[in-house]
């Protein structure tokens, strides 16, 4: 998994590229950690290039979400591929995560 960070206004955006499984879960948690430390606490994960996720990847996202909330921040996900999105639905995690179709709409939703 390749992770690119950038800042848009006061939102930290992480572009994820590759498969999100046990081997990449630690990497993503690590990369999120610095971002979570930022003052505004607004974080967006763009999953456009994530072609595969399994329960270890979901676990990593849940872990990040908890960390973000502990820091009174907000986490949003965007650009989920259809089959990736389907796994969120199966596991009912679509109810827990804020998921947006694209970055523009996700960014607009941060107050």
């Amino acid at each position: 998994m390749d992770i690119q960070k950038r800042i848009e206004g006061d939102v930290a955006i992480l572009n994820l590229n590759g498969r999100l499984d046990l081997s990449s879960a630690a990497l993503l948690k690590e990369a999120s950690k610095e971002t979570i430390g930022r003052e505004t606490g607004k974080m967006l994960l763009n999953m456009d290039k994530v072609d595969f996720i399994n329960s270890s990847g979901l676990g990593a996202l849940v872990s990040i979400l908890k960390e973000v909330r502990n820091n009174h921040g907000t986490l949003k996900l965007t650009n989920l591929a259809p089959y990736v999105r389907e796994i969120f639905d199966i596991t009912q995690l679509s109810n827990i995560f804020e998921i947006y179709p694209d970055e523009k709409r996700a960014l607009a939703s941060f107050k």
Binding site: D21, G59, V62, P82, E86, T91, I96
Partner: protein
Amino acid sequence: MTGNINVRISSSRTTLPLAEEIIRAISESAADGARQAYHLRLIMSELVTNAYLHGSYAYPDDFIEFQADFDRRKFSFSIINTGTFPVDMKIEPSDFPQVIEESGRGLKIVCRLCSKFEVSTLPDNKTLIKAEFDLNSQSNVDTIK
């Protein structure tokens, strides 16, 4: 397509990405279409990850062994690892952790996608897991809502 493949792989942390690549290739060979390939890959990925994580990580220099057998109708997968499966555990394909749990979703996903799922305990502290996926009927995927 029809195929039968048996893989035995040293189960150190470093070989998991190789195992993941192999199951990706198997899923693309066996599946009819991208969505079915994703489901097959996910089933195998959950079971292989568990074999590494709950089994062989505790047993250095160990092996896991898995087998996939498929024709146009059915995809069968079985996997053996060292380590004992908790006997009292029930896996319900519904009822996913509502609270924010970081784990405990793998086998539920597998049960949700598969038409058959079986755990058995083998001699020498080994666990054997078998899963079947119906490639023809849309039944197992239609139930996803």
